[in-house]
Symmetry: C2
Subunit: 291 residues, 2 copies
């Protein structure tokens, strides 16, 4: 997905949010904003928003010397989600359709996103997403591809959301590589965040080798790109993975909540929608869901 | 009031909103955004937000060749407010305290503001503001100064809001100069907008000689500055007049709704507050209201 003009104000807001979370002084905040403005003067609209966002957050880390501004927030998100884990597991166990319930829970967990907006009510979101109609519903295709798949690459999004991913991975019953960021950016999960959420118990934790939000393949490590190539199925969580892989084709399934008006327009759905979108062009003639 | 870093994302958003309203093509929108970024690289935080906002809106008008992007919107706002005028007048006529009711109505009309947000429900706002407690309440001081005043300068804000101002001017029973913008900016009232709202029936319509939002005295015409100096009392409507005149001293009274988090912080009140604030430092030990 290309960058829209409406992303520009949001990049500046994110720069300020991250700078403040990193403890930047007023002078540092101004320096970060000035650097962000210079950067935005030079970017190409053909870049994806996470490619530009990645540079903005790198600026913040460099200027403040804070390697991981969202560290404390991520820890708290993981702790909060882990407290809910028994209830999440019980919902899946008691479901007539565990895959469907686990898919919904994994999408519910995608509310833990500090890019677009920092306020949310986690359990209220779970209850909403358990019954909310899908705005794009490729669950039928996902089930079909899963039935044939040997190896799954699962692209993580945010710390805390990891716990909800764990519930989905448990029902997949397939070998899963769980890919987190190579270095901190926003509240995206890194390896320590995934470990704290217990993902090592259900998957092999790997990292993209990149500190950009989403998955910009050309910025990822060779080892990661090999895993990506070899995977039969890629589950891509969250907005940034959609923004960076929307053209990646038929082995990618996007699971997300739409929290940004620009992405809503790009996907062709309303703000607040839940989406399970197949990367295949056949998605337009999608298979029926099976609830 | 100085410019805060949080104003920067908002300047970009305003540039886009105005560009689209002016009918800018995608290429023009990008050019406007690039020029806005360059401008923001150079501005000083000691400037007031309207001084920068004025430059942003000038950019939009120059790039699009549209002298008044908000022309149609302003006409519709005025028509909508005029339809309510009989109800507004009746509220004042039937009030036990006409000045108080008219002050509240004038503040209610300040919701017609396309800078911070373009959505509002006009009559619901009237009903809310008629009973909402003031977050800053210098009505006692206003009444005291009015009792001594010979000549009032009333600084208008938005088209449509003009109709609500008319109701307040009618109860003042003093000679009033009603000052609008010298040239179009945002949905701020200009002389034709004030005429369409019937302000010539209750006041002498003058203009600031400037196309900046608010009242930047050094950018105003000499004729306007003379009026400002000679006035015994200045009623300054809306956020931009607060932003540009907050240091102007004891003859200015600010009447506004707080629709922007930066201004909320500067005034020391919550978002959504209604404010009648005296420019005097004595405002801190304010006189009692008289409802």
């Amino acid at each position: 997905m290309k960058t829209y003009l409406d992303c520009y104000p949001c990049f500046l807001r994110q720069a300020l949010d991250a700078a403040r979370l990193a403890g930047a002084s007023d002078v540092q905040q101004k320096a970060i904003l000035d650097s962000a403005l210079e950067l935005l003067c030079q970017v190409e609209l053909s870049s994806t928003p996470p490619a530009i966002g990645g540079q903005i957050h790198r600026l913040v880390r460099q200027e403040t010397g804070n390697h991981d501004p969202y560290h404390v927030v991520k820890q708290e998100s993981t702790r909060q989600a882990l407290r809910l884990y028994p209830r999440i597991s019980a919902l899946v166990d008691q479901s007539d359709n565990p895959l469907n319930t686990a898919v919904r829970l994994s999408i519910a967990g995608n509310i833990i996103d500090l890019g677009p907006d920092r306020k949310y009510d986690l359990w209220a979101t779970v209850e909403r997403v358990l019954t909310q109609p899908f705005a794009v519903d490729d669950r039928g295709a996902l089930r079909a591809v899963l039935a044939q798949a040997g190896r799954v690459l699962y692209l993580a999004d945010n710390a805390g959301e990891t716990v909800f991913d764990r519930a989905l991975i448990e029902v997949l019953n397939l070998p899963v590589f769980y890919a987190v960021k190579g270095d901190p950016v926003l509240n995206d999960a890194t390896a320590p965040d995934a470990l704290a959420a217990g993902l090592d118990q259900v998957a092999e934790i790997v990292d993209t080798g990149s500190d950009a939000p989403g998955t910009i393949l050309e910025c990822c490590s060779e080892a990661f790109r090999r895993l990506y190539t070899m995977a039969d199925l890629v589950i891509a969580k969250g907005q940034a993975n959609y923004e960076t892989l929307s053209e990646a084709g038929s082995k990618v399934f996007f699971l997300l909540q739409v929290k940004c008006p620009v992405i809503a327009r790009d996907v062709g759905v309303s703000l607040g929608s839940i989406v399970l979108k197949w990367g295949s062009s056949e998605s337009e003639n999608r298979l029926e869901g099976d609830e």
